[in-house]
């Protein structure tokens, strides 16, 4: 779904990076929130796609003002609230995401592909700035659990992931800087042939 998290290419955050914050943790609570979040997913209470989707469901103002580890905290709180306050370990036992595929990937390195206008109401890993854009497959990355269903208890449904390269002009038009591209890892369901 579109939302505050889907930041690629947005003009909403124009701050310069010349003065930048190098810290990993700013306070003890950030480090503890990091470990607690990993403990929650590590115990199988949720999978990583549910964790990321819960971050996306946070209030947009809180998303920005709570900061990175504040969002992690908010995600775990939201998932516990979804479960009526219960913490239920063991729902997910496999913490890997790579899967063997039983079919040959549809695309190969060098193929020209176009992203679909995929914009579901739930979780997706197709950033909006590369929707409806044409690019070239540069790597075939093997099979992976499909986040769009895994985030919603609808199964792993593994499929191929491809690194797809988009020229700057394709993404940003005449505003594009010269000789630049963005390469994005995309699931086969997000792609069609041209």
């Amino acid at each position: 779904m579109e939302g505050i998290h889907d930041m690629g290419g947005s003009y909403e955050f124009p701050s310069s990076l010349a003065e930048r914050d190098q810290e990993v943790f700013h306070a003890e609570w950030e480090a503890r929130a990091f470990v607690l979040s990993n403990a929650y997913t590590g115990a199988g209470c949720a999978n990583v796609d549910q964790f990321r989707h819960a971050i996306e469901r946070l209030d947009p103002e809180a998303y920005l003002s709570d900061g990175y580890f504040g969002r992690w905290l908010g995600s775990i709180e939201l998932m516990i609230a979804d479960a009526d306050g219960h913490v239920i370990p063991g729902r997910y036992t496999d913490h890997t995401a790579a899967r063997n595929l039983h079919a040959t990937p549809r695309f190969a390195v060098g193929d020209i592909v176009r992203t679909t206008n995929h914009n579901p109401p739930g979780h997706t890993r197709l950033p909006s700035y590369v929707r409806n854009r044409t690019g070239r497959v540069t790597l075939v990355q093997g099979g992976w659990v499909y986040p769009d269903t895994h985030a919603h208890h609808e199964g792993e449904n593994p499929e191929p992931v491809y690194a797809v390269r988009f020229d700057g002009e394709e993404l940003w038009g005449t505003e594009a800087e010269p000789h630049t591209s963005v390469t994005v890892d995309l699931f086969e369901s997000y792609l069609e042939s041209t």
Binding site: H5, G8, E12, L17, E23, V24, W29, F34, S181
Partner: protein
């Protein structure tokens, strides 16, 4: 835990009490894990990989062909490193890494990300105007150098193999590793020596 009145600190304390009560973790284990991330897991791991690639051309070839396996040769791996792809900077091509959707980062080789990597400014701007953003990092690249931005939107994580400074001719891996910065392995800096 210190008495911190930040509401997020209070919320974290509440979550810690809940997860400890439920037997998911102990407060001592939290301390141990934090210490491990503060001391053992960090960009020094990535620097060892880069220094080895600079001194051992067969390793460099393996690293570029199968980053995960070559990095595992140095006993480096783990969460957020299930599949690693290493992309090489050359005089003609400069690579830089971002995660626009959520700040994914290759923990086993670089540790946890600095705040700026997670900043909305970096996440939004580096894909649209990489030359301008890199300039703010102090890295000005000629227009004839191709810039490839990698948005790690799935579970594959990227490590940039920076160019070896020409002035350093000694193949001492440990000394070379000391030159390799975190920022150079994200792709927002070059290594000058």
């Amino acid at each position: 835990m210190s008495h911190d009145h930040d509401p997020r600190a209070i919320r974290t304390e509440a979550l810690e009490r809940l997860l400890v009560d439920q037997g998911l973790i102990t407060s001592a284990a939290i301390d141990t894990i934090i210490e491990r991330y503060e001391t053992d897991v960090g960009p020094l791991n990535g620097a060892r990989v880069v220094a080895k690639a600079w001194t051992d051309s067969e390793y460099r070839t393996r690293l570029l062909n199968d980053g995960t396996a070559a990095i595992a040769e140095l006993a480096i791996g783990g969460a957020q490193g299930e599949k690693m792809v290493v992309v090489e900077n050359t005089p003609d091509v400069h690579n830089v890494v971002v995660c626009t959707l959520c700040s994914c980062y290759p923990w086993p080789v670089l540790g946890l990300p600095p705040a700026w990597y997670k900043d909305p400014a970096y996440r939004s701007r580096i894909v649209r105007e990489p030359r301008k953003v890199l300039g703010e990092f102090g890295l000005t690249l000629d227009d004839n150098i191709e810039i490839r931005v990698w948005d790690s939107s799935a579970e594959i994580r990227y490590l940039v193999l920076p160019e070896r400074p020409e002035s350093v001719i000694d193949d001492d891996e440990e000394a070379l590793a000391e030159l390799v910065t975190r920022d150079s392995m994200i792709g927002v800096a070059r290594i000058d020596a």
